[in-house]
């Protein structure tokens, strides 16, 4: 979870951000053989804090802006609550289904780093491969155009999927991963002690990823799983607390920034 999401949703300061981020899920890697599952995919992440009143309408308009004519599609919001145990984070929301395909994860964050949030942020995560595949009804993600002049997603990314699948499932050295996990955990603690929370959080993120790799490597037993999750969670919780404290020391500087879009009026679209 990117610091511009994880940390910025904490505390009272307003925040609006949108960025593309690769998301790695080692357990979903398929050696580049499955046309739909990827060990790494791209997301367009949007965080709006506090969550605006008309956020669903704006989201619907964003799909239309992408060229999806909703008059001929079936758009539904199905319950899907998001939870990241390693980050002490959870939220309530939906997976947005377009003609039966999940294209977006829409979440009202309730807690991150074990802290109750106020105000509440809304996070919209657009699954970019899904949406582009869907727009072209491609049978395989690897056929999607990376750029319009004929460079495909496969040409750019297939090797990445093959090699990382091998790494996650066959090659990754469990002992090295464990040591690295310990090392980053230690480094995060040191950073926290030095009062530098952003580097600390980065180390915590590395632990989270290492845990996922260990898990996909089949190296984690049930009990150890619980213990490792707790170790990463403890780091996340410590980072969250320290971040809020550090912002407070700075006087929550963004509180004084007027939201540029404040006062925007929506047209007559209802929300029923």
């Amino acid at each position: 979870m990117h610091p511009d999401t994880f940390l910025r949703v904490l505390g009272p300061e307003p925040w609006k951000v949108g960025y593309v981020q690769p998301s790695r899920r080692p357990a979903d890697a398929r050696y580049g053989e499955n046309p739909f599952r990827l060990g790494k995919h791209y997301q367009f992440q949007v965080v709006l804090k506090p969550s605006p009143e008309n956020i669903q309408e704006t989201y619907i308009e964003s799909l239309e802006a992408l060229g999806i004519d909703l008059k001929v599609h079936d758009l539904r919001f199905e319950e899907d609550n998001w939870e990241a145990p390693t980050l002490g984070a959870w939220g309530v929301g939906w997976q947005v289904m377009l003609d039966g395909m999940e294209i977006t994860q829409f979440t009202y964050f309730q807690q991150t780093g074990g802290l109750d949030l106020q105000p509440i942020s809304a996070e919209i995560t657009y699954g970019l491969e899904r949406i582009t595949m869907f727009l072209g009804l491609s049978r395989s993600v690897y056929d999607v155009d990376w750029v319009a002049d004929g460079v495909s997603y496969g040409q750019v990314r297939h090797q990445d999927e093959v090699e990382f699948s091998r790494y996650y499932f066959e090659v990754a050295d469990v002992e090295f991963l464990r040591q690295t996990f310990d090392g980053y955990e230690n480094e995060a603690r040191r950073c926290l002690e030095a009062g530098i929370v952003l580097p600390a959080y980065e180390c915590a993120l590395k632990c989270s990823h290492l845990f996922n790799v260990l898990d996909s490597r089949g190296a984690v037993s049930v009990t150890e799983r619980v213990a490792l999750i707790k170790r990463v969670r403890d780091l996340s919780v410590a980072c969250a607390k320290e971040y809020v404290a550090s912002r407070e020391r700075l006087g929550f500087p963004l509180l004084s920034v007027e939201s540029a879009s404040a006062g925007d009026e929506e047209d007559g679209r209802g929300d029923g």
Binding site: E79, Q110, A122, F134, L137
Partner: protein, 702 residues
């Protein structure tokens, strides 16, 4: 036009499908109850919902709350007036509080003495005023399975609220829910009919919603969807899979009831049918279509729109289904690289419970226990097969397919074992191991299936109880109630003469020193737990609770035998002689309680009534034992009932508490032996006797 109609619509972001029905039900019930308490009883209550709206209509409401006249009690009369008979400040204060003149106060006599009192009249408020006050607290307090906050911290509620319509006889009822004021306008579907429009009441609302294709009534929407799907399935030459739960779920995910039909590559039909059906149902909420016991390469699901003008909805759903099935095929082909038998050792790395060992350990215990069960039941031909089934029973937990679709555990193992060429009783035993999964479901097929299903459940129950993990309240993380329920049903329905105490004791021994409690202690906890399941099950079959209790009181470790004794009690319990013995049994229990067992000497009996009782009892003893040995519990109880007369005479003519200690103790001893004899089939003292009824029966007999 005043029809006393209150119309309420709450619009919000999409409420989870599973929460919608309970929510409108709770809203209607609580609104009804609160209005009832105000004397505002609606003649009709109607609810409706779509994912984005909850709707409640109460019609036939009176226009005002009822007026109330109450007598309020004030201070004691003696401090209410001074010597001159003038009201004291206490009286004046009370009058003021009640809104009356001091002269209108009266004195009433109460058990505590004379008190000042006032008749207070409160005029009923207009209905909209009551609604304005009562409805919002109910809405805010609906018990959602999960709620959230939004924006600056609004809520908690299930999802952000955006609109509120509240009308009483066409007039807006002023109320505010999370900053949203009630009004008289709403809107349709967010994409197809987003513009807002005014409504005047329920009929107008329904009409305008229908124009927009939205069906607010859940029942109507469900019926429309079901009909459309059945028609389409028929057209395809098949039949819709029978899955009312899926239809419930789908009905709650749309406001406009549209059905989309899709196809998939028939090559996927090579996958086990269970996999196809589960993938389509769990991942895509889609119905499969059956024809002559096989699936067609088609599916049906729901969309929140009326039509599919460019075929995009269909194309999209087919695209996703293909992806899902492709994934399932990946798991399947991964799994098929090894047989189940090749994977047995993988169970050693899969933890069943930290203190109870791996699934490998569990499999070995199930194997041993299954062997003993076959021994006890005399099922020698099944013993080897049961061992094979036990070895493979849990192996599917290590397969990719079960990791992906946990609901397929058991079924998947069975399907793989079938493909591995395992013997039919073996694969069926694996396939059926979690049955019965519901009260309608059946118990496992065949002896091997029964034996391993029992062994697995006993092993889990004994293990968890042995760690002190006895479920309490709603906490039952390991599903032990369900395991016990299944165990009881299997043993009863297959009519297996097993001594469950012995089976559990054997299971506890197989755990070696892993358990924290001794076998006796485990049994002491487990016995009442299993008895509870028996009570429930037999109660559901219509047996009176005291018949069940009486039979349990005489032993409960052999369940079919127990059920037969319950049935016997139920058959004879209305008979006069039997009831007479029941009353005698209660009397005996009172007399002998707390007295240790006494030596009995037949030579000390002196009165004819006690000699008669002793002789009759001795004469019946053999008959009762014989009937019991033959499992004829009804005859046994009838023999016991034959003691009615001699018992009655005994209690009329013999004084048990004789001054002579030896006589007294000998009579108590006689009664103790009678008590044992008549409690052979059922603990008669548990049977509840309506005494007036009993007298009547006795009288009519005479």
């Amino acid at each position: 036009m005043a029809t006393g109609e209150f119309f309420l619509e709450v619009r919000c972001e999409e409420i989870p499908a599973r929460m919608l029905q309970p929510a409108v039900k709770e809203l209607a019930t609580r609104a009804f109850e609160v209005l009832l308490s105000k004397g505002l009883t609606p003649s009709e209550v109607e609810t409706g919902f779509t994912p984005r709206r909850l709707v409640l209509t109460l019609s036939g409401l009176p226009s005002r709350e009822r007026d109330r006249e109450e007598e309020l009690l004030g201070p004691p009369a003696k401090i209410a007036f001074d010597q001159d008979g003038k009201p004291t400040p206490a009286a004046i204060g009370f009058a003021k509080k009640c809104g009356v003149e001091p002269t209108q106060l009266k004195t009433v006599n109460t058990p505590k003495g004379d008190y000042l009192a006032a008749d207070v009249f409160t005029e009923g408020r207009a209905t909209p005023e009551v609604l304005a006050e009562q409805i919002v607290p109910i809405l805010k307090d609906l018990s959602w399975a999960k709620s959230m906050r939004w924006a600056a911290g609004q809520g908690p509620w299930v999802r952000p609220v955006h609109g509120l319509v509240a009308l009483f006889d066409q007039e807006v009822v002023p109320m505010t829910l999370f900053g949203v004021d009630a009004g008289d306008s709403t809107c349709g579907h967010p994409i197809h009919s987003p513009r807002s429009f005014k409504v005047s009441g329920k009929a107008d609302y329904d009409r305008k919603m229908t124009q927009r294709g939205i069906v607010v009534s859940y029942e109507e929407r469900r019926e429309q969807l079901g009909n459309q799907m059945e028609k389409l399935a028929k057209k395809l030459g098949g039949q819709l899979a029978d899955d009312p739960e899926l239809l419930d779920r789908l009905t709650s995910t749309c406001g406009i009831p549209g059905v989309v039909q899709g196809e998939f590559d028939p090559a996927y039909l090579a996958l086990p049918r269970e996999v196809l059906a589960t993938s389509l149902r769990d991942h895509q909420s889609a119905f499969t279509i059956e024809s002559a016991d096989r699936l067609l390469p088609n599916f049906l699901t729901v969309m929140d729109r009326a039509d599919d003008p460019e075929g995009r909805v269909r194309a999209g759903n087919e695209w996703v289904v293909a992806a899902r099935l492709d994934d399932a095929r990946f798991f399947y082909s991964e799994d098929r690289k090894k047989t189940l038998a090749d994977r047995v050792s993988d169970l050693d790395h899969l933890i069943f419970h930290l203190d109870l060992g791996s699934y490998g350990d569990k499999a070995k215990r199930i194997r041993e226990l299954s062997t003993s069960l076959c021994d006890v039941l005399g099922w020698n031909d099944e013993s080897d097969l049961a061992c094979e089934a036990a070895d493979l029973l849990k192996v599917d937990l290590t397969t990719e397919m079960v990791k992906e679709f946990t609901s397929l555990q058991g079924v998947m193992g069975g399907a793989y074992a079938r493909e591995d060429g395992e013997a039919e009783p073996v694969w069926q035993a694996i396939y059926d191991q979690y049955r019965p999964v519901s009260s309608q479901d059946e118990v496992p097929r065949g002896r091997v299936g029964l034996v391993v299903a029992i062994a697995d459940r006993v092993d889990t129950l004994v293990g968890m109880f042995g760690l002190g993990m006895v479920p309490s309240g709603s906490r039952d993380p390991f599903g032990l109630r369900r395991a016990a329920q299944g165990l009881v049903r299997i043993v009863l329905e297959a009519n297996l003469p097993l001594d469950l105490d012995m089976v559990a004791a054997r299971s506890a021994r197989l755990y070696g020193d892993r358990l924290k409690k001794g076998a006796e202690e485990v049994l002491a906890d487990l016995r009442p737990f299993i008895q509870d399941r028996v009570r429930r099950l037999l109660g559901q079959q219509g047996y009176a609770y005291d018949s069940i209790e009486a039979a349990i009181g005489a032993g409960s470790s052999n369940l079919p035998e127990l059920a037969a004794r319950v049935d016997a009690v139920q058959r004879v319990r209305e008979e006069a002689d039997f009831l007479s013995v029941v009353l005698a049994a209660k009397r005996i229990a009172n007399i002998v309680k707390d007295t240790p067992e006494q030596e009995f000497d037949a030579n000390l009996l002196c009165e004819s009534a006690e000699i008669d009782l002793h002789k009759s009892a001795e004469a019946l003893r053999a008959k009762i034992e014989k009937a019991e040995a033959e499992g004829d519990h009804e005859s046994s109880l009838r023999h016991i009932a034959e003691l009615a007369e001699v018992l009655d005479t005994f209690f009329v003519e013999v004084l048990v508490m004789d001054e002579d200690r030896d006589l007294r103790m000998n009579r108590i001893s006689l009664l103790q032996s009678i008590q044992r004899l008549i409690s052979r089939t059922a603990r008669l003292t548990e049977v509840v006797v309506d005494r007036s009824e009993h007298r009547e029966k006795t009288a009519s007999k005479d």
